[in-house]
Symmetry: D2
Subunit: 344 residues, 4 copies
C-alpha cells in the first residue's frame, strides 16, 4: 500500500482527491491536513465521507509527513506551499503539487504572470509538468510534479495534435473557455454567492488569466516555435466542468475526417482522451477523468473549431494528480480512475 | 461472473444501473435492451459510456435472455413488463423489476392505486419487496423482486425505527417529500422542460401519488396496525436527490438523543443507513447508495420531525436493485456500491 | 411626489425595493444609504441600474433623512436599526421597517425568539404589523410599520381563511416551507456558496425559526385562540420564491370546492391574492407581488393540504413594503406593483 | 390605444410579448392566437397572467385581425407565417414578424441558409430589418418588419462601432456566443429536457447556424465590404440571456479608452445600449431591454475582445419587437421597455 498524505484536504481539489483515494485499491491515506479545520474529522466537514473517511484533520508538518507517507499531494494556494514542499522533498518524499508553483520551465514566465518571486527556483528546475498524455516518461522518473491547471489541461489537449503536426497557423489561435463555479474554489466571494452567479454568466480576466502562460508554454514546445494566443475564461452556472472552444486557421484545406484521423493517431494509446465524431458535452465527462474532443471545419474560412471538455476537479485537478501518482509508482495508469461520467 | 441483462437500459434508472454495473467486479453485462434505440450502441445514446460500455442495444427477447443471463433487471414502465417477466421467470431466470408491478402484498391495493388490472397475480404472490434493510432474508431466497420506489425507500427508512418501536402515534403522520427532476424520467414533458422547471418548484399529486400506498403497506407491517398517512411530493430544480421531511406525534416525551439511539440501534448493522446528529443534505448522498437520516424534537408540540435523503437513481432505483442482486447471489451486499457521494 | 429614502439599499431586499421604486410613478428616491458602499453609486454595485438609478450611496443620517424624505424604508438586520428608527420617528417621518423588530404585539415573544432585549419597546407599541391583506385599516393610519417576514406572509395568507372561519382544528397544523437562496441575503456564507447549495437541498432551524412566532401571532389573532404549530424551513436551489405546504385537519368533511369558495370569499377584494383551482407553482409569481394559493382535500384523512407561493423579495419583502407605502400615502394600493410574474 | 394582435402567443417569444404588452400604456391586446391552445385562456396556459390577461386564445384569422388590430406580431416558426402575413399586409395591417423570414436583403442568402424557397419574395423586398439602433428611420416608415434574431442583435451591436469605423480587420472575426435554454423555445426536445441540459453545456451548429448569415449581412453593410466570420453558439444552463465574446484584430494599436470612446460616440443617443468600463454580466440585463457592452484590448496580440449581453427574450425578441412598434406608431421608443434588469 502506498501511504498518501494530502495537505489542503478541505479545499475542493483536496476533497475531491480524498474522495477518489477512497476508491483506489493500492493506497492508504495516512495524513489529511487542513489549516482551517485541524482537529475535526474529514467527515465532519464533508458529511458525504461519513463512515468512509473519518480521519482527523491535522496541521501540516513535514517531519510527520516524512514518517508516515510515501507521497504527498499539496493542494494549497500558489506561493503557500513552497516551504513545506522544500522540506518534504529534502526528506525524500515524492510530491505532487496542485498549485501553479511548479508548472513552469522558465522562472521568468512564472514570476511575470503570478507577480511574485519564486521561493525555490532550484526545485522548479527539478520539477516535471504533470500533463500525463504529453510528459509520461518524465513523470515516471520525477520526484516533484507540477500538476497542470484545469483550463490548461483541457486547452492543451484540445489543440496538441494540430500544433504538433503543423496543421494550423500559430497566429490567430483563440481559446474561448467556460468553467463551472467549483473552479473558483471553496473560499467565499461575492461572485460565487449563489444568487449572484446562478442564471447568469460572464467573462473575466480576459488576456490576463495565468493559465494563458501555461498553455503557451506547452503548445510552443509542441510547435517548436513561440506561440502567443488569446485565452478568455468565462464563469458558467454549473458546479463542475470545463468546455473550451478553440479556433485556429488551417494551413491548407483539410476535411473533418482528415483532422479526426490526426487526433485519433495522436491519442491512439490514451485511454482518457476520447476523440468523438460528434461535439462533446460536459455531462459526458462530469465525474470522470476523461477528456472528450470533437471538431468542425469551417470550409468557408478554412478554419478548424475544436471543442474539448473535462471535469475541472478530476482531469483538471485531483484525477490527473492521481494519474500522476499511478505513473510515479508504476501502477496501472487508470487505477482508481476508470469510472464513467455521471451523465445525469 | 454473473451474467446480467437490463431491459429498458436507456431510461434513467436503466442507464444508471448500467453505469453502476460497469464498476461491479463480479458481473458481466450480456444484454442491454431498448425498444427506442435497438440497433445503436449504448455509448451512442450515453456518450459518457464511450469506451466503457459499447454494447449494442437489442430488442427484449425472453429466449435470448434465458440463454445469456443469470439475472435480468427490468426497468420498464409499470404494466409493460408483465409478459416478458412471466416468460423470464418461467425459464428460471431471477428477475429484479424496477416498476411498481411487484411491490404489493395485496393485489387490491395495487389495482386501486394503479388503476389497472394486474396481469399476473400468481407472480405477485411469489415476489418479494426488495427493501433490503427490512426484507433481507426474504430477498436472499427470492426469484422475483419488486424493487421499491424512490420516494418510498426514503420515506419508509426515515420512519421505520419510530413505527416499529411504537414511539409515535400512527395518526397524523405527514410526509412532505421533495424530488429532483430525474425522478420524472427521460420521457419528454412540459413540466420537465428546462425553462419550465428550473428556478421554480411545485407540489403535485397530493394525496394521490402511488408511492403513498407502498409506504403505508410497509409502515403498517412494522407497526402491526393499519397506517394511513399524508404524502405530498414536490418537484425541485435539481437533477438528483430526494429529501423527505416527516412529522409524527410522540406518544410520550423523548429527547433527541433518545430517539437517535433508537435509530442507531435499529440500523446498527446497516452500512448504507447513516444516522446523523445533524440534519442531512442531499449533496452528501448524491452519487451514492447511502440514506442519511437526522431528526429534531419539537418539545413545544411533543412532535418529532425526521429528515431523510437518498439519491433517487441509486438507493431509490439502480443502486438498491444492485444491492438486491448482491443479496440474491450471496455476494458482499456492498459490492459495487461503496462509493461516497459526490458532495460537489 | 413622495420623497423616499432607503437605508440598507444594497442588501437584496433594499436593492429590490430600489428596483421597484424606479418604476413607481409617484415617488422620488432622495436617499440611498449603505454602510458598506457609501460613496459609490448604486449602479456601481448593481450594474442592472446603470442609467436608471445612478444615485450616490451615503451613510445613514437621521437629520438628512428628515430633511429630504417623507418616508424611510429600513432594510437593515434586526437589532441594528433601532436607534435610527427612533430618531426618524421622533422627527415625524413615516418608517417602514423590513427587519423583525416591529412585528410583534408582545415584546416577550420578540425577546424570546430573537434572544435580544428590545431597544425601544415604546415604539413597538405604536407599530403596526404590515400584512396589508389583514391589517389594511391600521396600516393606513400608522407611522411605523413592521413589514412582515417572507415565510410568514406566505404561511399566514395560505391558512388565514381556514383559521378565521374555524374550518380546521388548531392542533396539528404543520407548515413545511421551501425558500429560494436569496432569502438568506447577500452576506457571504458557506451554505449559500454556489457549489455548496446548487443541486442539493436541506431543512434548517426546524422548530426554532423566528418566523414561527410571527405566524403563530397572526393565526392566533384570527382564530381567537392560541395556536402553536410546526414550521420547517428548507433551502432550495433557486434564486427567488417561497412555496409553503400546509397541513390541517378539518373539523368536519368539506369538498375542495367548498373550501375554495371560503378562500374566494375571504380574498374577494384582494388583487394580490389569487385562489387557484390548480396547484400553484413558484414561476407564476416570481417577479410579481402576487400570492397564489391552491389546495387539496385528502378525504381518506379528512385533512386539507394548502399550497401557497410568493416571491420572497417582492410580496415577501420589498413589494409588500411598497404596498404598505401606497396605503400610508393613500395611493392606489397596486401602484408600481401590478406587473405579472416572469414565468420564464 | 393601438390595437394589437399576437399570433403564436403561447411560444416563449409570444408569451413574453404579451407579458410586456400588459405594462404598455398605449396598447390594447385585441387578439391572441395559438394553434395549440385555441379556446383556452392565455392565463390557463401561463398562470402568471391570471387576473392580468385572461383573453381567450383563438385560431389565427386574417379577416378578424384586419378588423380588430392596427398591428400584428407574428411569433411563428419560419416558413409558417408567410400566408397569413401576406393577407394581413394586403389588408393594410402593419406586421412585425419575429421569424427569420423577413430579415434578409438578398433572397438567395435566406434560401441558402434556411434551405427553403421563400414564399413571398415580393414582400421580402418591402420588409425592413428591425434592428432599431441601426435602421431607425427605415423602421419608422415600414409596413413589414423582420425582427432580428437573438444572437444577431447581440453580436451585431457588439461589433458595429468597430466595423463601421474601420477599426478592425474584417478577416479573423470570431464570435463565440452563449445562450440560455429558453432560446430553444417551448417545443419539447431531449436537449432541453431538464436532466439533460442542467449542469452541462455544449456547442452546436458550429459554422452552420442561420444567425451567422444575418450577422454577416449587417456587418458587411456597416463595413462596406463583404464580411465572412466564425459564429459558434453554445447552450448554457440558465433560462434567459445571451452573452457573446467577440474577437477581432485591430488595424493599429488602440487603448481600451480609445475604443470605449468610439463605442460611446457611436451609441451616444441610444438609451438601450450601455457601454461599460467593466465587463458585462447577464444578470444585469435579464428582464430588461438593455444591451451591455464591455471590452478588453490584448496588447500582446493587438486584438480587441468585446463582450456583449442581452436578454434573448426581450432585446433579442419581444422587447425589440415592441421597440419597433413604438417606432412604427411614433410613440416614445422606450415606452413599456424602461424597466431595469432583475439582477437577482
Amino acid at each position: 500500500m502506498i501511504r498518501v498524505g494530502v495537505l489542503g484536504a478541505t479545499g475542493y481539489a483536496g476533497a475531491e482527491l480524498v474522495r477518489l483515494l477512497c476508491s483506489h485499491k493500492d493506497t492508504e491515506i495516512t495524513i489529511l491536513a487542513s489549516k482551517t479545520y485541524a482537529g475535526q474529522k474529514m467527515s465532519d466537514i464533508f458529511t458525504s465521507l461519513r463512515g468512509i473517511c473519518d480521519i482527523v484533520l491535522e496541521e501540516a508538518d513535514a517531519d510527520v509527513a516524512a514518517a508516515k507517507c510515501d507521497v504527498v499531494f499539496t493542494a494549497l494556494p500558489h506561493g503557500v506551499s513552497h516551504e513545506v514542499i522544500k522540506e518534504l522533498h529534502a526528506k525524500g518524499l515524492k510530491v505532487i503539487d496542485l498549485s501553479g508553483d511548479f508548472r513552469y520551465n522558465d522562472i521568468k514566465v512564472y514570476e511575470e504572470w503570478y507577480g511574485v518571486e519564486h521561493a525555490c527556483p532550484e526545485l522548479l528546475a527539478e520539477s516535471v509538468y504533470g500533463l500525463c498524455e504529453l510528459h509520461r516518461e518524465d513523470i515516471k522518473k520525477a520526484t516533484l510534479i507540477g500538476n497542470p491547471g484545469c483550463y490548461t489541461t483541457c486547452s492543451i489537449l484540445g489543440l496538441a495534435p494540430l500544433v504538433a503536426n503543423g496543421v494550423v497557423e500559430t497566429k490567430n489561435i483563440i481559446i474561448d473557455a467556460k468553467s463551472g463555479v467549483s473552479g473558483a474554489g471553496r473560499g467565499l466571494a461575492l461572485q460565487t454567492h449563489f444568487a449572484e452567479c446562478t442564471e447568469t454568466m460572464k467573462a473575466y480576466k480576459i488576456a490576463t488569466h495565468r493559465h494563458t502562460s501555461e498553455i503557451e508554454q506547452e503548445l510552443s514546445l509542441l510547435a517548436g516555435e513561440d506561440i502567443v494566443l488569446s485565452f478568455t475564461p468565462h464563469l458558467v452556472p454549473m458546479k463542475r466542468g470545463i468546455l473550451v472552444t478553440e479556433y485556429a486557421n488551417l494551413k491548407k484545406p483539410y476535411t473533418k475526417e482528415e483532422l479526426l484521423n490526426i487526433y485519433k493517431e495522436f491519442y491512439k494509446d490514451e485511454k482518457f482522451v476520447r476523440v468523438l465524431d460528434t461535439l462533446p458535452e460536459v455531462k459526458n465527462i462530469t465525474g470522470s477523468n476523461y477528456v472528450d474532443i470533437g471538431l468542425t471545419v469551417d470550409t468557408r474560412l478554412n478554419r478548424v473549431i475544436v471543442v474539448a471538455t473535462i471535469d475541472n476537479l478530476i482531469k483538471g485537478a485531483a484525477g490527473q494528480a492521481l494519474q500522476n501518482m499511478n505513473l510515479l509508482f508504476d501502477l496501472p495508469e487508470y487505477e482508481g480512475l476508470d469510472m464513467p461520467g455521471y451523465y445525469i
